[in-house]
Symmetry: C2
Subunit: 359 residues, 2 copies
C-alpha cells in the first residue's frame, strides 16, 4: 500500500458539502460478521487469516469498490498505519492489530473497509458536509454487494450480530463531524452535549472515542442500533444535526452582534499567526484553524481555497508531516515543519501576490 499517494491529495470529505459551514463531514459505518467464523476476538490466527484473505479477494470484485488499495496490518509500517488513522480510514484498534487483520480502501477514500477489527467487517462511507443519507446509500449498496457473496451472522429477532452488544441490530453507527465555535464561545456547548446524551446520541472529539474535543470540533453519532431501521436513524440524526447547526449559526451571530471586534480579532489573529509563525504545536494549529474556519464561514477572512483548512487539519498531523519529510521527526522538528507547511498553504490560498509579503 502506498500511503504517500494519499497525502498528496485531498480526501473525499474535504471539499465543501451541504451545510459545510458547520458540518465538516458525515460518516456511516456498518459492522458485519461472517456466519461461518468466530468473531475476531475469539478466532484463532488461522481463522482470522482465512477471513481476511477471503474478504481482501472478494471486495475488489464489488462494483462499489473498483479502484482500491488493500493491505494487511502486518504489511504496514507504524507510520503508514498512523497516516491511515489520521485520515480516518482505520481505527486505532485496527492499527494495533497485525497478521490476519487488514483494510481495503477505495482510491477516493470515500469507502474504507476494515477487516478483523472488533468485527469481521467494518465498512465506512464518508461524505463532505451534512449528508448522512448519501453516506448511508453508498454503505448500503456495498453491504448488499458483499452480502451477495457471503453469509452474514444475522438473527431474525435482533438483526446483525456483532462482537459488542452495543452494535447488534443495524450494526450502524452514523456520525457527523461538527465545527461549533459559536456554541463554545457562548458556553452553550455543555448544555447541547447533555441534551444530545439524553436523546441517545454520543458526542466525541475529532479522532473518535476517547479523543479530546480539539479545535471546537465534535463528532455526534447515534448510540442505538437496535429496534430502529437504518433510515430512521439517519433521518433522526440529520434532523438533530440540523437543529444543532441552527443553534450554532445563531450563537455565532449573537457573538458577532455582541462584540464584532472580538470575532474579527479572533479570525484576524488566526490568519496572521498561521501565515507567519515558524513554530506551531498540533494543539495550537487545531485551535487557530478553528478560528480561521469561523472567520471564513462568517465572511470575515477571504480564502480562495476553503478546502485548505480541512487539508491542513490532516496534513499537519505527526504521521503526515513525517511521511512528507521522509523520516522520523522529533516533536520540536514537527512543530517547525508544521508551521512551514501551514504558512505555505495559507499564503497560497490567498491571492498569488501574497507570497511575496513576508520573508
Amino acid at each position: 500500500m502506498n500511503t504517500g499517494q494519499y497525502i498528496e491529495r485531498s480526501s473525499a470529505w474535504m471539499p465543501s458539502g451541504p451545510e459545510s459551514g458547520v458540518a465538516i463531514s458525515s460518516r456511516v459505518r456498518l459492522a458485519r460478521n461472517m456466519a461461518d467464523a468466530a468473531f475476531p476476538g475469539w478466532a484463532g490466527e488461522e481463522d482470522r487469516i482465512r477471513v481476511w484473505e477471503q474478504l481482501r479477494d472478494l471486495l475488489p470484485a464489488c462494483p462499489s469498490i473498483k479502484n482500491y488499495q488493500a493491505a494487511g496490518m502486518d504489511e504496514l509500517s507504524g507510520l503508514d498505519k498512523q497516516i491511515l488513522f489520521e485520515r480516518h480510514l482505520i481505527s486505532r484498534e485496527l492499527a494495533e492489530r497485525s497478521r490476519g487483520s487488514g483494510v481495503v480502501i477505495r482510491d477516493d477514500e470515500v469507502v474504507a473497509v476494515m477487516i478483523n477489527e472488533e468485527d469481521h467487517i467494518r465498512l465506512q462511507c464518508i461524505r463532505p458536509g451534512l449528508d448522512i443519507a448519501a453516506a448511508w446509500k453508498e454503505a448500503d449498496a456495498l453491504d448488499s454487494e458483499i452480502e451477495g457473496s457471503v453469509d452474514f451472522s444475522f438473527s431474525p429477532q435482533l438483526g446483525y450480530l456483532t462482537a459488542c452488544p452495543s452494535n447488534v441490530g443495524t450494526g450502524m453507527r452514523a456520525s457527523v463531524m461538527l465545527h461549533v465555535p459559536g456554541l463554545v464561545l457562548t458556553k452553550e456547548i455543555n448544555a447541547v452535549v447533555k441534551g444530545m446524551a439524553k436523546i441517545g446520541l454520543a458526542v466525541r472529539g475529532l479522532w473518535g472515542e476517547g479523543s479530546e474535543a480539539a479545535g471546537n470540533m465534535f463528532q455526534v453519532s447515534n448510540q442505538m442500533t437496535l429496534g430502529e431501521s437504518e433510515e430512521d436513524i439517519v433521518d433522526q440524526l440529520e434532523q438533530i444535526v440540523q437543529e444543532i447547526i441552527e443553534h450554532e449559526r445563531n450563537a455565532r451571530w449573537r457573538v458577532l452582534e455582541a462584540d464584532e471586534h472580538r470575532i474579527h480579532d479572533l479570525a484576524g489573529r488566526a490568519y496572521g499567526i498561521l501565515a507567519h509563525a515558524h513554530i506551531l504545536t498540533s494543539k495550537e494549529a487545531l485551535d487557530l484553524l478553528s478560528d480561521l474556519r469561523l472567520g471564513v464561514d462568517m465572511g470575515i477572512v477571504d480564502l480562495r481555497n476553503e478546502c485548505v483548512i480541512n487539508e491542513l487539519l490532516i496534513l499537519s498531523q505527526p504521521g503526515h508531516l513525517q511521511k512528507q519529510e521522509g523520516r522520523k521527526l522529533k516533536a520540536t522538528e514537527r512543530d517547525i515543519r508544521r508551521a512551514e507547511l501551514i504558512r505555505e498553504r495559507i499564503k497560497a490560498s490567498k491571492n498569488d501576490l501574497d507570497g511575496k509579503e513576508h520573508e
Copy 2:
C-alpha cells in the same frame, strides 16, 4: 498650542540614527535656575508667572529655537498634556502643574524647554540613535544663548544650583533609550542593569523614572552631575552604551544560533498579529513592536519604512489615539482603534500589494 500638528508627523528622533538597531534615541537634559528667583517649589504664583512669561518671551529670540510652539500648563487640556508627555516633550510632573508653568517646543521636536517644572528651566535635546554628543552640542548652544540674556544660579565651587541636590553641578542628565530584547531573552539583562548601577548609571523604563521596562526598552542615564565635565559624562556614557550595544548584538546572535526558529517565530508572529489583530492592548502592542523591531534589525522581516515602529510606539498611546479620533475613548475602544491604526501602518510599510491581502 496645536498638538494635532505633532501627531501628524514623525518626531526628530524617529528616523534611523547611529547604532539605531539597538539605540533608539539619545537625549541631553540641562537643569538651570534664575539667580533672581526662588526655585519653583518655593516661589509664589506671581514669581512663577513672572519667570514663565520672561522665559516664554526670551526663548523664541534664541537662534537655536526659531520655529516653535509655546503653551502655559493652564492653557492646555488634559489630552494635550498627555500627548506632549507621550512624545517625551514634557514630564509627568510638568503636566500636573498649571498657571506659571509651561513649555516651549521647537517645531522639529528636537528641542523642548520646560519652564517651572522642578527647576526654572529644563531644556532637552533629542537625537535619533546613539548620538549623545550631538544632543549635548545642541543643548549647550541653546544654554549659552539663554545665558546671554539671564543670570543663572551658579556657584564657582559646585556649578549650577538646582532644586534637587542630585542635579547640582552640570545640571545635566544624558540618556540613551535602548532596545535590548537579546539581553532579555538570554536573561543577561539583570546582570547588565546591576553592573550599570555599580558604575553610577541609572536604568529606567520607556517613560522615565518609575515607568516599567515595557517592550524590552530601557533608558540608561548618568546619575552623577557633580565633579565631572559635561564632555566627560557624554564620553563615558557613549562608551558604556557602545559596550551594551555590543553585548546586545552578541546576545541576539547567540539566541539566533541556538534556536533560529524561535527568533523567526517571534518576529513572524509579531508581524502576523500586528498586521491582522482587531484588538490590541497597549502592553501587547509594545511587546509585539519590540519583537517586530528585533526581526527587522536582524533582517528577518522586511519593512520598507523602518521608522514606522518608532511612530507606532507613540501613535498607539492613549492620548494620541484619542486626539486622532477627536474624542475621549474607553480602554476597550482604544484597543480597537490601536489595532486598526497598527494594521494600516504595518501593512502600508510593506509592499503596496499587501493592502489587499486581508479583509
